[in-house]
Amino acid sequence: MATLEQHGHGSILERHEEIERAVLAPMLKPTKWYFFGLVLALLAFTGLLVTWVHMIFSGMHLSGKNNPVGWALYITNFVFWVGIAHSGTLISAVLYLFRARFRSRFNRAAEAMTLFAVMVAGLFPLIHLGRVWFFYYLMPYPNQRQIWPNFRSPLVWDVFAVSTYFTVSVIFWYMGLVPDLAIARRRTTGIARWVYRVLSLGWSGSSTQWRPYNKLYGLLACFATPLVVSVHSVVSWDFAMGIVPGWHTTIFPPYFVAGAIFSGCAMVLTIMIPMRKWFKLESLITIEHIESLAQMLLLTSMIVAYSYIIELGMAFYSGNIFERAQFMYRMGGYYATLYWIMIICNCVIPLSIFWRKARRNLTWMFFLSIFVNIGMFLERFNIIVQSLSHEFEPYAWGRYHLTYTDVFITIGAFGMFFMLFLLFAKTLPVLPIWEVKEETH
């Protein structure tokens, strides 16, 4: 009740009404800016589809890969988007279990982000296949030749890890949505109301429903938590299991998980700060909430920085000439600029969060999150492309060069992500109303 008094409102019901209005307001009247953004995102996504189809019919030469650099921007994108997908589960499941209150302001959007990011990420292993029309060879399906996938290959682990993560995320997200869908049902009319009614699965909000619901939600949170660690660990094994200098290291799983959370939190900020303003959610998402997220960012940034140091330390301490050459190349080779931009974005700029004024400055936090996004994209690029271009055989050293196809597909991935997110923001409650309500008790 203390909260209520602070806010100076009459009753709980009024307060609830206000929350519902505030959260559901964006669902009612789209502005022209919304449509503008949606069309832009749609265009970018169409660009991806068109270039991809062109590449399927023409050949992988349209991407800038070559002999030493067999993976480049597509796998970079894959790892980047899987990383983005991490914050969702982290914020919803882990913070839920830790009863971190600020999570309720972000978790719906973060979970949606997770889903969309996994969807985008899942596209890239397909895009990068030489013969995408045989992608099902990677699935264990019964066939008359009795050929199974090679379970020793990290790529097969990927298939399982990512699809499991996607499934669990969908269920978790949907479970969280059910009470809010019921609210939406109450506040809409016509077809929309019918749709929400179907989706809300007859939720009435009675205590007989709430009790098992809370149990299930907690259970799902427990179930999803290990996935936060597992998915990106498995993704990191794509590299750590290879013998390529710059890949073959045991630090990769924790390093990748931290990096994923880092980039995920940054992406949440990138999205939530403008959303908070445009959707007028200032009263619900306060500066303090953003601050908490910023502290997460700082922590993971420091873990990532620590990993970079360890990587270098291992390369130089081990006496392995291949590793050493690889990291010398990262720091001083053809792509060195990208390496140093990555260091600045991921390790230097986030240090400003230590300064209270900075982390409470939303403009700064917004730009910081963009820097981190750039930095984390480059990190994946550096790990993949730089390692491959400077492997064991000096004769075979070579460089990757960006092509239009690569650029269009990368932009298209962002387009797809934002398109899905914008659609989500217009159709579903962007904050978990029931949780926010709970917190006001």
């Binding site: 002999n67 993976w71 492997e391």
Partner: protein, 982 residues
């Protein structure tokens, strides 16, 4: 009718009913093919081998052409052939792309007024030529016949043709006429000829500029013999030249001299061995050091090695005899050889190379003058390209226009043929009859290995038809003429000879005007063969040149010097074909020149270390060279390690009508130009395939100082994990126990392996070409190379470090026992086969490219697009190897199709495969016999025996990949570039 018959009949009927209406034009072909009975003597799918002679260059190696289903698909050297003994060079392997070149002349053609060519009939072509010949006669102009080096019956027939129609035959045109060497041999040994060099019998070989392994007389023969010499255990090869070539990279000692100073060194050596240099006082070692640019130490070593040698051999040639003191170099080399006293043992003038009809540029000067004076009416140009090769001042291009009728004979267009009025399309040697006499006492047969592809004829048949048009008597056809010739010479063409492909006759004793007798080691005598050689047809020699050395021994080459070198891949330019597919590729350009590693593009090399930052470069600086008044076309500037300072090196075929002058005494082209000036001209895309000239201390080619055996053992020790009991590995190929969840591979009874001797490998790239042809590797063209998408399964990597030297290593799939590519493939496309090969199943591959990423040797190749095999190139596809489609990874298979065939054959005979029975294409063609292939489980196999040396090592041993390829380190190499050496 029982049940089985019913089902069979029903099935056949249904199949027939569904097939027939469904036939598209393409399908028709295949369907009909299956219905036609195979030509007589051909079992469908079963290869037959036909012996013939390679005419790609004047060396005339014996080749065995593999024909499957009526299509010639691969050439291999004839084993036991006196010239190449099983080996074949990069050009010989690639000549099949000339046969199947889509831009070959497909019928006779006449030039129209606007410069295009119209197809005409043979009749029309002959009538035009004949009437022009008659006009010449009445108009007082002479008609001439120009060809490249031609030997054997064809040469005889050309003479007959020329006599019958009043055409005068010009001296044969070869830029590499070796006339300086021939003249020197005349002066010193009394034979104006190039002897057969018995390199295998020598224990010390000194080559001065002679590009033994590239274009010098008979490259494959030399490579074979050097390899045999190395087998004796006491063989040392010292190579002196002003630039860098594969010889410099392959010789045991390489000495870089200042351009034009070879004669000083040779004069010094001659005096050291008691000879005198007329007109010159004693040459001091210090002056050699100063003038030639060698260190005193290496000079002493050289003299000492020569003193210790019992049968030293000195060969001068190549660019070293192509400057103003070139004749001095050649004569001093010959005198040194004579002085050393081993000439009779290591040189064989009885089986001298057949260069008697080959003229020099001085001869060319005579007839180009006539051309320019308008004295020549009809000119026949056969298989030669004077517009490219003759120096500009001779004015060939202008003079050629003044001829009344220019008749070109060739398979494919070139600069000269483009200017001709009548094109008479030649059949490729693989589809025509003929013979050759590469050297005295050796005649080889040329026989068709497949049907004619186009409406073309052999040169002999064309001349024969022209005789008929002129109403002169003629043999029935050229084949009949050859048969009569061979019968006349006492060796009728029996099936045995046709199968062997050659006859070695007793060489008539050469007429030694001076010099030691050359009786020892005459060529083997074929049974019943009578001695009769073309020696009698030798034109009378002019008096031997008297060479005085009073004018000095060193050519005046100051400032920056341009050296024009022969080309390993293109010879004098003749092997550089038009682009043959949509990618603008040719096979020889697809294979990088091994020293510079440039595949596509024209470049000039200059001393330097790394281009840009040491990875493959999309663009190089482009420069324009000015020589006196003339300005060359812009060339890419390639920085070349181990090239002496102030030397600019360019391959001859890149220069059109190079204007560097002619040596007035020998008629050799001058290949040096002093005081070169250059200026930048932007950036030009050139495909440099090497990512780094240095191996960065990675032990790919072990440093000569360290013993690789110890290095490998050290790797093993450092790798051992605690708590694992391991037996000491004895040989590469075994490994200690390791922790693994999976059972170790069991190989029984075969585990294929390879041993590659880097001491013998010369970087000649024949293996690369053989691999391309054998395995249907697509030719991807310049753009793909610029993007780093070359498809070669085997490549030659040069590395320029270690103890200050350069060396080659062929890199191919190492068929690792613990292969990094296998476990990462999600679909088992990369798998380990029971023979220990890393198999690649193309139709299982989905194209994740993970295997290629994880391959430390970087030998896996991805098909980025579908490559078309434009007709008739599709006919050179090896039917036993799948053509890979887009999106699929591919790699070296150790020629698994050959292994399969060998195993099947052995199984038919109920035995195991014999050692040496299976040879992958690279092993088969290697002129140096540097690669051994065999079963690693057979301790007695030649391949396993070869590994039992402390030179044996495996690349990246420390990675634990357990490669099946073992390299033998080259531990003897010395390299001196003291001129501006850094």
């Amino acid at each position: 009718m029982n049940r089985r018959d019913f089902i069979k009949t029903a099935g056949l009927t249904a199949a027939g009913a569904s097939l027939l209406p469904g036939c598209t034009p393409v399908g028709d072909d295949k369907f009909e093919q299956a219905l036609y009975p195979a030509p007589e003597g051909i079992i469908p799918g079963e290869p037959i081998y036909l012996s013939t002679t390679c005419m790609e260059c004047p060396a005339n190696c014996g080749v065995s052409a593999k024909n499957v289903d009526g299509r010639t698909i691969k050439l291999e050297g004839i084993i036991g052939h006196p010239i190449n003994d099983g080996g074949l060079c990069v050009r010989g392997q690639a000549t099949i792309t000339r046969l199947y070149h889509p831009k070959r002349y497909k019928s006779p053609m006449r030039r129209t007024r606007n410069g295009d060519f119209d197809a005409i009939t043979w009749e029309e072509a002959y009538r035009s030529v004949w009437s022009a010949l008659q006009t010449d006669k009445s108009g007082g102009r002479s008609s001439v016949y120009l060809s490249s080096r031609t030997t054997g019956s064809l040469s005889t027939f050309i003479d007959r043709f020329c006599a019958a129609l009043g055409v005068s035959r010009l001296p044969e045109l070869e830029v590499f006429s070796h006339s300086a060497v021939r003249q020197a041999n005349q002066t010193v040994f009394g034979h104006k000829a190039i002897p057969t060099y018995k390199i295998d019998r020598a224990d010390f070989l000194l080559t001065v500029g002679a590009d033994l392994l590239e274009t010098f007389v008979s490259p494959v023969e030399h490579a074979t013999k050097i390899s045999k010499g190395k087998d004796t255990g006491s063989f040392w090869w010292t190579h002196v030249e002003p630039h860098i070539s594969i010889e410099a990279m392959s010789a045991d000692t390489r000495l870089a001299c200042k351009p034009g100073t070879e004669a000083v060194l040779l004069g010094y050596l001659l005096q050291q061995f008691g000879g005198s240099v007329s007109g010159q006082g004693p040459i001091e070692a210090s002056s050699v050091v100063e003038q030639v640019g060698l260190s005193e130490e290496s000079l002493t070593k050289l003299v000492q090695r020569m003193r210790e040698a019992r049968r030293p051999l000195v060969i001068a040639g190549g660019v070293s005899v192509q400057h103003e003191k070139g004749l001095e170099v050649a004569v001093l080399a010959a005198q040194l050889q004579k002085q050393l006293g081993s000439a009779a043992e290591v040189m064989d003038f009885n089986s001298a190379y057949n260069y008697d009809n080959v003229g020099s540029l001085l001869d060319a000067e005579v007839w180009t003058k006539k051309l320019n004076a308008g004295e020549i009416g009809v000119i026949f140009v056969s298989k030669t390209d004077p517009a490219l090769t003759l120096p500009k001042p001779l004015g060939f291009a202008e003079g050629f226009k003044k001829a009344t009728l220019r008749v070109g004979l060739s398979e494919i267009s070139n600069k000269t043929l483009d200017e001709c009025d009548i094109i008479l399309p030649l059949s490729h040697f693989l589809e025509s009859w003929g013979d050759a006499e590469p050297r005295k006492g050796l005649r080889t047969i040329i026989q068709p290995t497949r049907e004619q592809l186009f409406n073309t004829k052999s040169e002999g048949d064309i001349l024969l038809d022209l005789l008929q048009t002129a109403g002169k008597p003629r043999p029935k056809n050229f084949r009949a003429f050859i048969e009569s010739e061979w019968a006349r010479l006492g060796t009728p063409l029996t099936p045995d000879i046709m199968k062997a492909g050659f006859v070695a006759t007793a060489a008539a004793a050469a007429k030694p005007a001076a010099g030691p007798a050359t009786g020892a080691g005459a060529s083997p005598v074929a049974a019943g063969a009578a001695a009769s050689v073309a020696a009698s047809a030798t034109p009378p020699h002019p008096a031997p040149l008297q060479v005085s050395f009073a004018d000095g021994l060193s050519a005046q080459l100051e400032g920056d010097v341009l050296v024009v070198t022969p080309s390993l891949r293109f010879y004098d330019g003749r092997s550089r074909l038009l682009p043959l597919n949509a990618q603008g590729a040719t096979l020889l350009e697809e294979i990088p020149e091994p020293v510079s590693t440039i595949s596509y593009g024209e470049w000039i090399s200059v001393r330097g270390w790394q281009d840009v930052t040491g990875e493959f470069v999309r663009g190089l600086d482009q420069i324009e060279i000015t020589l006196g008044e003339t300005r060359l076309q812009p060339l890419a500037l390639k920085l070349q390690p181990r090239l002496p300072d102030s030397v600019y090196m360019v391959e001859r075929p890149f220069l059109v009508a190079p204007d560097l002058g002619i040596d007035r005494r020998t008629g050799e082209p001058i290949s040096f130009s002093p005081n070169l000036k250059w200026r930048g001209a932007g950036i030009i895309p050139v495909a440099v395939m090497s990512g780094s000239p240095s191996q960065e201390g990675r032990g790919i080619i072990p440093n000569a100082v360290e013993t690789p055996g110890e290095e490998a053992a050290a790797h093993h020790k450092s790798q051992r994990m605690d708590g694992i009991v391991a037996s000491e590995p004895e040989l590469p190929g075994e490994h200690e126990e390791r922790l693994t969840l999976y059972p170790e591979h069991v190989h029984q009874p075969y585990r294929w392996g390879m041993t590659i001797d880097l001491d013998k490998c010369t970087g000649c790239s024949a293996c690369v070409a053989a691999c391309y042809v054998e395995n249907n590797i697509p030719l991807v063209g310049k753009d793909a190379h610029l993007n780093g998408r070359e498809m070669s399964w085997i490549r030659i990597e040069p590395y320029f470090d270690g103890e200050a030297r350069g060396d080659f290593i062929p890199m191919l799939c190492q068929q690792c026992d613990s292969a990094p590519c296998e476990p990462v493939c999600p679909v088992y496309a990369a798998y380990h086969n029971p023979d220990g090969l890393n198999g690649q199943i193309y139709n299982r591959c989905v194209g994740t490219r993970y295997c290629a990423n994880n391959c430390p040797y970087k030998v896996r190749r991805f098909n980025w697009i579908n490559y078309e095999w434009e007709s008739p190139l599709d006919q050179m596809i090896n039917p036993e190897v799948s053509v890979r489609g887009r999106g699929v990874m591919e790699k070296c298979t150790f020629c698994v199709q050959r292994i399969r065939a060998g195993k099947d054959h052995a199984k038919d005979e109920n035995r195991l495969v014999r050692d040496g029975e299976i040879q992958p294409a690279c092993v088969q063609t290697c002129p140096s016999d540097a690669i051994q292939f065999g079963n690693m489980l057979d301790e007695n196999s030649k391949m396993m025996q070869a590994r039992k040396t402390d030179r044996a090592y495996r690349v990246f041993e420390s990675l634990g990949t357990e490669p099946a390829v073992t390299y033998l380190a080259d531990v003897t190499k010395e390299d001196e570039v003291s001129i501006g050496n850094a």
